[in-house]
């Protein structure tokens, strides 16, 4: 037994070594995180629900019974975003409409790491149904950014990212439809990766926009990110869009970037990037060259059209996916109805929050008779152009780099009155989902005391290349700062 484990600095790699070498136990590890939750959770609110008792019991069981047969991730304390269903553990999607929903099965990706004996600490807060960029759309109250409690953690996987940054979890699973892993990872100073579309099964991930959604890791280091990714990928017959990666995920060791061609898209830097973010990004780009990489400018000419196309496609898919929440089979049912149609309308009117309603409305409008071709049909064509832009860029470079988010963490409430301002938070991440590509964000510095994220984007199935490059950069950057739970003046 060792004391003084720092939950904000401990990596999964080190935790695993301590467990294997018998220097700590799963029970001790869990107690380190539960103690930290006890200390900071009332300020951060990273979780919708904690499963502390189960976690303690399960960790003790791992220590006692599993011995040599325990899984590769045995005893590692994990947060799961609350849009992945977990059998017997209420799964809300941070929505009133699912407040008491008790799933009868477990999402495939989660089941996989449960099979490797991770210990779930709880279900992480998020924007309702993963729609948002600040975690303020949770029906159960916002999560706060542990770096500055007056700011947002980003979203939609804001609870997962804040939990890792606050030392309330060793690592976490999030989901990314337009940046929902990478942007909160950037704003919270942690690592977040969206894999190639199809690499991770979506079975049991409550669907938002099915052609864009992808589960991925949020971790404290790139090595941890590779380890968690390695254990969630794989073909799943229950998800017809899932694919087998044609290679194994390698745990990264690279310290150099010799020969790596890194493209920087002029369009991503054209407008709206905060000066502090830009400085940190430029310094990191310079570091790429010092490590032997070659930085070249590339063009992604349809960047300006990606955001509008996304805000047609994602709401259109959401309006279809969320039709299932009708008060019949599960979830909330309104008492204010005299017939079936009124029951549907009032259940959904009372059960969904403002942003979810907006997206359902935009989606229904864009798919409705007379508008389908002008909106959805056109947006699907723009998607082709966005994908072609990346294809052309990757004919010249190995990876593309950009800031993950145009700004550092912004003030709570500062963008809630203007949906478009909130949507623009994801301008650098959204094109990646439209093209189905893998991308990750690593912390590359601070601006005004808040973390800046550096995004690397690669061609489909280039996970190993991205992890390797990110690892080399991470080692050279030596980002060691941790969140301090201050509340600065807004």
């Amino acid at each position: 037994m060792i004391s003084g484990l720092d939950p904000q600095r401990l990596t999964a790699r080190e935790a695993k070594r301590l467990l294997v070498d018998g220097e700590t136990t799963a029970a001790e590890l869990v107690s380190v995180y539960l103690d930290q939750i006890e200390r900071v959770e009332d300020r951060v609110h990273a979780y919708v629900q904690l499963t502390a008792e189960n976690a303690t019991r399960y960790a003790t069981e791992i220590d006692r019974e599993m011995g040599a047969t325990r899984g590769a991730l045995a005893g590692l304390p994990t947060a799961i975003k609350d849009n992945m269903v977990t059998e017997g553990v209420v799964t809300t999607c941070a929505s009133r409409i699912l407040e008491n929903y008790n799933p009868v099965y477990t999402a495939s990706a989660v089941k996989q790491i449960f099979g490797d004996h991770v210990v779930m600490l709880g279900k992480a807060n998020m924007d309702e149904f993963a729609m948002g960029s600040s975690c303020e759309n949770s029906a159960f109250g916002p999560t706060r950014n542990p770096w500055d409690l007056a700011t947002v953690p980003g979203g939609s996987s804001g609870g997962s990212a804040a939990a890792v940054a606050a030392g309330e979890a060793l690592w976490a699973l999030g989901s990314d439809t337009g940046g929902s892993i990478r942007q909160p990872a950037a704003l919270c100073g942690v690592v977040g990766m969206k894999p190639t579309y199809g690499a991770v099964s979506r079975y049991g991930l409550v669907a938002f926009a099915s052609s864009l959604d992808q589960i991925g890791p949020i971790t404290r280091s790139v090595w941890d990110c590779a380890l968690l990714l390695k254990h969630i990928i794989g073909h799943d017959p229950r998800d017809s869009t899932s694919v087998e990666l044609p290679f194994e995920i390698e745990l990264p060791t690279a310290e150099r970037l010799d020969g790596l061609r890194v493209g920087i898209p002029a369009e991503y830097l054209a407008a709206g990037i905060e000066s502090g973010v830009r400085e940190s990004f430029d310094a990191t780009a310079k570091l790429v060259e010092e490590l032997g990489g070659r930085v070249v400018e590339v063009s992604l000419p349809h960047t300006d059209h990606a955001l509008p196309a996304y805000y047609i496609i994602a709401p259109a898919e959401c309006s279809a996916n969320l039709a299932r929440f009708d008060g019949v089979r599960y979830g909330y049912r309104s008492e204010h109805a005299s017939d079936l149609l009124e029951m549907y309308e009032h259940t959904r009117g009372e059960g969904f929050g403002a942003e979810v309603k907006r997206r359902i409305m935009i989606g229904t409008y864009a798919l409705s008779s007379g508008y389908y071709d002008a909106y959805y049909g056109q947006a699907q064509k723009v998607r082709t152009l966005v994908k072609r832009d990346f294809d052309e860029a990757f004919a010249q470079v190995d990876v593309v780099a950009s800031p993950t988010s145009p700004s550092v963490a912004f003030g709570l409430g500062s963008r809630t009155a203007d949906p478009l301002a909130m949507y623009r938070s994801d301008v650098c991440t959204i094109p990646v989902n439209l093209a189905g590509l893998p991308a990750l964000s690593i912390p590359c510095g601070l601006s005004e005391g808040l973390p800046v994220g550096f995004q690397l984007i690669g061609p489909a199935f280039s996970e190993n290349r991205l992890l390797s490059a990110a690892h080399a950069l991470e080692q050279a950057l030596g980002f060691v700062e941790v969140a301090s739970f201050h509340e600065r003046a807004a």
């Binding site: 008491n100 008790n102 009868v104 190639t196 579309y197 052609s211 017959p237 017809s240 869009t241 694919v243 059209h305 509008p308 196309a309 805000y311 047609i312 309006s319 009708d326 019949v328 089979r329 599960y330 979830g331 909330y332 049912r333 109805a337 005299s338 017939d339 079936l340 149609l341 009124e342 029951m343 549907y344 309308e345 009032h346 959904r348 009117g349 969904f352 309603k357 907006r358 359902i360 409305m361 935009i362 229904t364 409008y365 864009a366 409705s368 002008a374 056109q378 947006a379 699907q380 064509k381 082709t384 152009l385 994908k387 949906p419 478009l420 949507y423 439209l434 093209a435 189905g436 489909a460």
Partner: protein
């Protein structure tokens, strides 16, 4: 420009009850969002094929082998109202 009547129509299609002040606010918000997304209309897309799925995956079918599904009790477990092993709903029409 989307009108408040359009918003009420779309809300009906969406099976969403909106309070009057909600419908008013939604009209203004949707107008702004739709104006923004209309930017794609400036592109000439006549020769561009649509993309629905980013990878070249076709006809993904699993073996057609019967497997046990959810037990009835499990399927009904989360229902707001149940009667006689079925989902109970309010009467249709008024």
């Amino acid at each position: 420009m989307i009108s408040e009547d359009d918003v009420r129509h779309v809300a009906r299609l969406s099976r969403l009850h909106l309070e009057p002040d909600e419908a008013r606010r939604m009209t203004a918000e949707l107008a702004k969002i739709l104006e923004h997304v209309a930017k794609i209309a400036e592109l000439d897309l006549a020769e561009v094929p649509p993309t629905a799925h980013v990878l070249d995956v076709v006809n993904v079918l699993r073996d057609d082998r019967p497997q046990p599904g959810l037990e009835r009790d499990e399927a009904l477990k989360n229902a707001p109202a149940v009667s006689d092993d079925a989902f109970r709903v309010p009467r249709m029409g008024s």
